[in-house]
Subunit: 188 residues, 4 copies
């Protein structure tokens, strides 16, 4: 199982901290999983200009190829202006139509206030659904007060991330098994 | 009245063609309006890194300052992956919280299919509303078949753009008058 | 100016309390306005069966006719299962397509938690927009803790309702005036 | 496996026709499934007044109990005023918070135009997600032109319903199996 965790912001540390915690949990609980963390702050991405992702060079090619090879995505994002940041939306723009088909996707969201709790539901899920991802319905929503100096200080948040990691892997295995059984059926 | 028209895509010609038509109408029907067309394809924009827009340089500074000085915005956008492109979302990320307060905003959307008709309603209006724009409720939704060689070939589309321009200016004048009357009240 | 205030729930007192406060403010500040409060709990409504609203009898006819004659609507609603209640949605189902054209609509929402803050934006505004209402962008969102024994106990909430009433009336009056001017223009 | 199919409208025949076709497919392909079709037009439902669903009488009690006992729901709905009808929303209002936990839910939507294609995504999925259903991401969207005299006349629509039925059952069965395995794990 290839899992790619994405820190979708190029500013601040909270989304990175949360996605790092999820990645550590994954490595700890699922030693067989192959886990990659993509922190967008470390890559020099181009805006999508309509080309196929394989036709880009450098970081843009590397990031999109890594995502396309994943079986499951753990998407970390802050909320900017009541939606996901342009930097994360641009990643989706770079991928093909239906580019998340066969992948499970789950979400970890960092925000300043409870008031934006539904933004993943309304702004991010419809994009993932359109791209044909299998979405883990529940997401982890973390407020600024739950962090202190690049650490998560709220144990309930840690517990919810651990559960999200588990739900993501369970759903990924569910779909993998469905596919295997279907393929076996068609073989006879 | 300062109007800024934005072509929010860096790829393709349809959004630009539609927003150019709207701009021409504006100049023709409202000769007193001061109109600027910002075609994002012509600017080299940086991803928002959390700075105030005045602290950027070059194109990023120029585009954001032009928008911040507008009384009304005509926002042109294609649909990428069931939402607005990252390039347009990034423009909003660069502006301050509440950065569209006191501005009227209207939308012209180009898309490949009727199926995405509600995306401006669900993905763009909530962003504009959060940023405190006064939104023109009805928008112009144009399909690919309505264009041929960088021209709008559907007269009904032209008519709807003309009406949107009129509605935008009417709403902008409504709010301007409300503000003037309120200010006059407070002067006594 | 005919204003109709709707308490869209048939259970509980909070939405009614809030909409009553708004109505009292309206009567106090705008003595010329003709104000009607429709508390759905007091009416025996039928589910929409596709008939024109004029073809119903009794309460269903009375409530829908009252709404159709309004210039402005103050819509009060609780949040049930992450959306507006079926009782309020049914009112909209009973009205014609485009039935709110020419009407200003504003929203007062009562809920148990900050987490549902965006539900009016995502679930109610698209309905009002589709029905062609002129929507007051900002809404008043009130939490359960702001009430005690059928009274609003939070002064900030009272202030926000007062401002919403003012914004609603200002938009309705200015819009009416601009429409009159346009009509006068076309007369020559 | 208990499957409940719901025709969520009390007016017209299209939603009923589509949900009947899905039910027939279910009975044909999954003879072990226990299938119930609830056509809301045949029940006299009360508006939710905040009581627990077990405290109602008559049709309201019968419909809600049937839904609560289901392992999977096939929800059929028309689009009224850019959302689901009040009659269907009322069903959800009658159920408890989190009332769809452990159930798989899929959607069949009938509408007059392609323009409303995203309404299930934006108005219905968030409600099902909030109620903790496991949602089948893809839904069947059927236009009026695909029906003639209470029959589906478009073979592609029939094929898509068959596939939705299959996806619903596959997800329900696999999910059930994985839950059983998890429980077995915790037993040791």
């Amino acid at each position: 199982m290839k899992v790619v965790a994405i820190a979708g912001s190029i500013v601040g540390s909270k989304t990175k901290t949360a996605i790092q915690y999820a990645t550590d949990q994954l490595l700890d609980k699922y030693p067989d999983a192959e886990v990659t963390l993509l922190d967008l702050a470390e890559y020099d991405m181009q805006f999508s200009d309509g080309r196929n992702y394989l036709d880009y060079q450098g970081d843009t090619k590397k990031v999109t190829e890594t995502i396309m090879e994943a079986d499951a995505l753990l998407i970390g994002t802050p909320i900017f202006q009541a939606s996901i940041p342009g930097s994360l939306k641009n990643i989706f723009d770079l991928l093909p139509v239906g580019g998340l088909e066969g992948k499970v996707a789950s979400m970890i969201v960092t925000a300043g206030s409870q008031r934006h709790y539904l933004i993943p539901e309304q702004q991010l899920k419809p994009i993932l659904g359109y791209m044909k991802a299998q979405i883990v319905q529940s997401y982890v929503y973390i407020e600024d007060v739950d962090f202190y100096r690049k650490e998560i200080t709220n144990d309930d948040v840690k517990f919810r991330i651990e559960r999200l990691v588990e739900d993501t892997m369970t759903l990924a295995r569910t779909y993998q098994r469905i596919l295997e059984e279907k393929e076996a059926e068609y073989d006879f």
